[in-house]
């Protein structure tokens, strides 16, 4: 696969050689799509080793994740929380803050939404209940990031460690809350009370696609525009790219750090809220889809670009929805999706390295 892409790159280079901007885009595209194809080929070899026909697997994944009507609706619905998570990660990563606590923030927000949703829905109009539950979830997620935020902003404690630790705590706390505090007495399954389907976020037209998708798209585009077009976004990028230059330029680095944590965690919380208020309706005990960790590589692949992130989130969605079906049908473990994503990342890093060496040697 990677061999095949080389001549393509050459011809495209020569065609667009006259406009450097266009050439850059093509170069970027080749450097992204090429490795993805190469990774699919490598993963295919792995499938062969497992005794599964890779073409059948990929065909099945594409069919179930993208082409079949129910599959594409599920895929688009799954994108909603992933888009919110991606936008939260873009804010943090662009500002040089490695928030690895998205899953803890997501789960606690989900539990909050699951507890607050049915409670509010019983005493007020459904739309108001959903809005209130959504806001509460966001606030809870923000609160959960506050300790790492303070430690990072004022003590310089490495947020990679603190947010990761808070994720372990948050996952367990969410579980405890489900089992002990918000347990639905009406069922034997340990889970929270369920938000009635008619009270959830509306579905789009006559499909099963949750309107969370629209909210997610709005969030990620807004984040992209804020980061690239506003002074606030530029300040965050300065802090991320060169913290000493930020101090020298008189930016209030600790306050910006707090803002980044609040935004990033708030968006992760919104992801949990739309998933519960739009799709799940409740939180079962021990439920942890670990979307946050799955989205991190997508955000890197997209180079923190919001629009590119939409494409990669779609890819992840297709792979995971299709992969879940394929797992049932072909016996390939569900986690194979993650294996695939990991291979893509590694191949991409290698491609980046080779490209860098190539440019260096051409300069010399």
């Amino acid at each position: 696969m990677s061999v095949d892409t080389a001549p393509v790159e050459m011809t495209e280079r020569s065609i667009v050689a006259r406009s450097p901007g266009m050439r850059k885009v093509v170069h970027r595209l080749v450097l992204t799509v090429g490795p993805v194809l190469a990774a699919l080929a490598l993963a295919g070899l792995l499938l062969l080793a497992l005794g599964v026909d890779p073409l059948a697997y990929y065909g099945y994944v594409i069919n179930r994740g993208l082409l079949s009507p129910s599959g594409i609706q599920q895929t688009l619905t799954r994108m909603a929380p992933l888009l919110f998570l991606a936008s939260g990660l873009i804010v943090a990563f662009r500002a040089g803050i490695w928030n690895l606590g998205a899953d803890g923030q997501f789960l606690l927000a989900a539990v909050t939404a699951a507890a607050a949703g049915p409670y509010f829905a019983a005493i007020m109009p459904a739309w108001l209940a959903v809005v209130l539950a959504f806001l509460m979830s966001v606030l809870v997620a923000m609160a959960w990031s506050f300790v790492p935020a303070l430690l990072r902003a004022y003590q310089g404690v490495n947020e990679i460690i603190t947010t990761l630790m808070m994720t372990f705590l948050g996952t367990s706390l969410a579980n405890v809350l489900v089992k002990l505090v918000f347990l639905d007495p009406g069922t034997t399954v340990p889970q929270t009370r369920t938000l009635p389907v008619e009270d959830r976020l509306p579905r789009l037209f006559d499909t099963t696609i949750s309107s969370g998708l629209v909210l997610g798209l709005i969030a990620i585009v807004a984040v992209h525009l804020v980061m690239t077009r506003t002074s606030f976004g530029l300040r965050l990028r300065i802090v991320g790219a060169n913290p000493r230059a930020a101090v020298h330029s008189g930016l209030a680095v600790p306050r910006l750090t707090l803002a980044v944590f609040a935004l990033s965690a708030g968006l992760a919380g919104a992801a949990g809220a739309v998933d519960i208020l739009g799709v799940q309706g409740n939180v079962r005990a021990d439920w942890n889809p670990a979307y946050g960790f799955a989205v991190i590589p997508m955000v890197f692949l997209a180079r923190f670009n919001g629009f590119a992130a939409i494409a990669f989130v779609l890819l992840l969605s297709v792979l995971s929805i299709g992969g879940e079906s394929a797992a049932r049908r072909l016996g390939v473990p569900n986690h194979f999706t993650l294996v695939l994503v990991a291979i893509v990342l590694i191949v991409l890093a290698i491609a980046e390295y080779i490209d860098h060496r190539f440019i260096q040697s051409r300069k010399a």
């Binding site: 002074s231 606030f232 530029l234 300065i238 060169n242 000493r244 101090v247 020298h248 330029s249 008189g250």
Partner: protein, 523 residues
């Protein structure tokens, strides 16, 4: 201690020669066309201040770095030294400033490190070899002691021994005396003399004059990346120690060199009762692990005046600049701009009030290397009208003004969208000058404004400083280059150990007065 034993190989062919070697790092020229010949039987002293380019030169000789231009000859043959291991195999051994022994291993184990991994360590033959070498050099080494038990001087002896065991013909001692006690220094000096008697070539790096004159045969003086003088063994032995010292001081700090631009400015006298633009009173900052802090710094700067701060690097100059700019808070003292205190103001508010700081660390804190030149002009104005309106970036306005500044300040850049990290140091400096001087400046602090720049950009920058002063701004120039201060300043204050040890009005005698304050001879 004088030596007349340069009979061995005097004028002989050099073991290693550098030919017009140039090494650039982003934004600075570390070595500018330096030529050097290292001969057997000689202690070749490299003398220079911090940032003179000594470490880079050693890095290239020991294979850590590759020259950008010029070449290295070993026994007359051009060789690319690709790694420290390669350097060792070529007979170039280096003893770095900080000991590089593994503290938990014994001396013998340390000496055996680095042999081929498939071979069994040969402890017995090592013992015999070490005993022979050590006794001929008159040093005692306990092979069974762990490295951590040894004093720093003993550790250095072990490292020298290690280099000799690998048949090094050239031994490089990088600031080896900086960690030693006075008696340790004398011991090392005596050892160096015995080693060169055996025909070894030694490169001895130091910034201490006394060591250079006491232990050296030949002295090369580096200054700001250029070699500015060499004292050959014949002259070395002909001069008395005092004359030698005087000559070196002259070369390092003076302007005997026929530099056409080296003209001393006679300072303008500002009436003492004129209202100071910037007044600093009793500024104090606690010392830290890396800086001497500030103790009771007081000075006044008048509109149109150029005040220089001279001193060896690392004597609190950077801390002073950062306290004035508001990047770090002073423990006590007061800063007044036009009579109004600015102590409580943030970095941004001080800038708005007209107090500007042009940093010496152009890439580290002055700019964001990956951002375009245009954005870097306005790094200190993010969010301000007209470049941002209600928080939204006004691309057209930014580009228009950036293009204007590029033209006015003659920034040589392919485009205003080029990442600033790709520009040369001189052009980055022009961007910083434009940022601080183009609008609203009243008092400007220049920290090492020409550090690492080539001559043309140095002159441009100095002219900008003089123009700023002529237009009525108060300018504070921090520099380690005395010539520069003599050219620019009305008065020169000398900083040492975090305090201002004296202030000299610029004039014909300023050079020697400041020079002696700098090396602590007066005051």
């Amino acid at each position: 201690m004088k030596h007349v034993d340069n009979s061995i190989e005097a004028g002989g062919h050099p073991v290693i020669a550098l030919e017009r070697v140039t090494k650039r790092f982003p934004g600075v020229v570390a070595n500018d066309s330096v030529s050097l010949a290292i001969r057997a039987g000689e202690v070749h002293v490299l003398l220079g201040e911090n940032g003179a380019g000594k470490s880079t030169l050693i890095g290239m000789l020991s294979g850590l770095q590759q020259p950008d231009e010029g070449r290295i000859l070993i026994d007359g043959q051009p060789v690319a030294i690709t790694s420290p291991r390669h350097a060792l195999s070529l007979g170039v051994g280096t003893v770095f400033q900080h000991a590089m022994l593994v503290p938990t291993l014994t001396v013998a184990e340390n000496l055996l490190l680095g042999a081929a991994w498939w071979r069994r360590p040969r402890k017995d033959s090592l013992r015999a070899e070490v005993e022979e070498l050590a006794s001929s050099l008159g040093i005692r080494i306990d092979l069974d002691a762990t490295a951590a038990e040894l004093s720093l001087g003993e550790q250095q002896q072990v490292e020298i021994l290690r280099a000799l065991l690998r048949n090094s013909r050239v031994l490089i001692l990088d600031e080896s005396t900086s960690m030693l006690t006075p008696s340790g220094i004398d011991e090392l000096g005596a050892l160096m003399r015995r080693l060169v008697k055996r025909g070894l070539a030694i490169v001895f790096i130091t910034h201490k004059l006394r060591e250079a004159t006491a232990f050296g045969d030949r002295i090369s003086i580096l200054k700001l990346g250029r070699k500015v003088g060499e004292i050959a063994p014949e002259r070395f032995s002909a001069l008395s120690e005092d004359d030698l010292t005087a000559e070196i001081v002259e070369t390092m700090f003076g302007n005997r060199r026929s530099d056409p631009d080296a003209t001393t400015r006679v300072g303008t006298q500002f009436p003492a009762d004129a209202q100071p633009l910037l007044a600093v009173r009793d500024l104090c900052l606690a010392p830290s692990a890396t800086s001497p802090g500030l103790s009771k710094i007081s000075f006044e700067l008048r509109a149109g005046e150029v005040l220089g701060i001279a001193g060896i690097d690392g004597n609190g100059q950077k801390q002073l600049a950062e306290v004035l700019a508001g990047q770090i808070a002073a423990d006590s003292g007061a800063i007044l701009l036009e009579g109004r205190p600015v102590d409580a103001m943030s970095v941004g508010a001080r800038r708005d009030a007209g107090l500007r700081y042009l940093t010496d660390d152009r890439l580290g804190e002055g700019t964001v290397g990956a951002f375009p030149v245009s954005i870097n002009f306005f790094l200190k104005q993010v969010g301000r009208s007209p470049f941002w309106k209600a928080g939204i970036e006004q691309g057209g306005e930014i580009d228009r003004r950036a293009a204007e500044l590029v033209r006015d300040y003659d920034v040589r850049t392919p485009s205003i969208r080029t990442p600033i990290g790709r520009l040369s140091g001189g052009n980055i400096q022009k961007v910083l000058l434009a940022r601080e001087l183009s609008t609203g400046a009243k008092a400007v602090i220049f920290n090492k404004p020409t550090y690492g720049l080539d001559l043309a950009n140095t002159l441009v920058t100095r002219q900008r400083i003089l123009d700023a002063a002529a237009s009525g701004k108060g300018t504070l120039v921090i520099s380690t280059d005395l010539e520069e201060l003599l050219q620019l300043c009305d008065r020169i204050a000398v900083m040492s150990g975090g305090r201002l040890v004296g202030t000299v009005a610029n004039g014909p005698h300023a050079a020697s007065e400041v020079g002696s304050l700098m090396i602590g001879l007066a005051a």
